[in-house]
């Protein structure tokens, strides 16, 4: 971290090990979709709309909607684990 000009450069490296995308299924027919609602305004309506559309148009069998405690905090590991047991794909809303 000490540069060759004689002082320390504490600039954060940001070097993070790359996480691979999860393998995607060919389609959603017969699948269960997990929808994570962060409780921010419009989030519930957005996810309900998506859930209905996925069932009607893409053959999704089941939709599981869960809510977080607060929009600006990450979901607990327990909540993500619970959803991951039931769903094969997931959508989170609304960031921001």
């Amino acid at each position: 971290m000490t540069s060759d000009v004689g002082f320390i450069d504490p600039t954060a490296s940001g070097g993070k090990a790359r996480i691979a995308l999860a393998a995607r299924p060919m389609d959603l027919a017969g699948k269960t979709v997990g929808l994570l609602d962060n409780t921010k305004e419009q989030g519930t309506l957005i996810l309900e709309t998506i859930g209905n559309a996925l069932r009607e148009r893409y053959g999704v069998a089941r939709v599981v909607i869960r809510s977080k405690e607060h929009y600006s905090k990450p979901a607990t590991a327990a909540l993500i684990d619970e959803m991951a047991k039931e769903a094969q794909v997931a959508i989170a809303a609304v960031g921001g």
Binding site: G14, K16, A17, R18, I19, A20, L21, A22, A23, R24, P25, M26, D27, L28, G34, L36, N38, E41, Q42, L45, I46, T49, I50, A53, L54, R57, Y58, K68, Y71, S72, K73, P74, A75, A77, I80, D81, M83, A84, A87, Q88, V89, A90, I91, A92, A93, V94, G95, G96
Partner: protein, 75 residues
């Protein structure tokens, strides 16, 4: 923001995921994906703001993005 974090947590558990954000948080979302090791992860970007949209308007806007969301979570 935290929905990005949650999306990554799903991916780490082998669950393909995407996140719906609004335009104002695009840079923050890109930064968060990158800083947490998933640079370039897809997302759905809605125009900002959405908080004052009436329910029918919100539904109509959402429906425009369903196909894109499906493409992001399927092969």
């Amino acid at each position: 923001m935290c929905s990005v974090h949650d999306t990554i947590e799903f991916e780490k558990r082998g669950i393909p995921a995407t996140v719906i954000i609004t335009q104002a948080f695009r840079k923050a979302a890109i930064f968060q994906f990158g800083s947490k090791g998933m640079e370039g992860h897809p997302y759905i970007e809605l125009p900002h703001p959405i908080s004052n949209l009436k329910p029918e308007e919100m539904k109509e806007l959402t429906l425009r993005f369903v196909d894109q969301a499906v493409r992001q979570i399927t092969a």
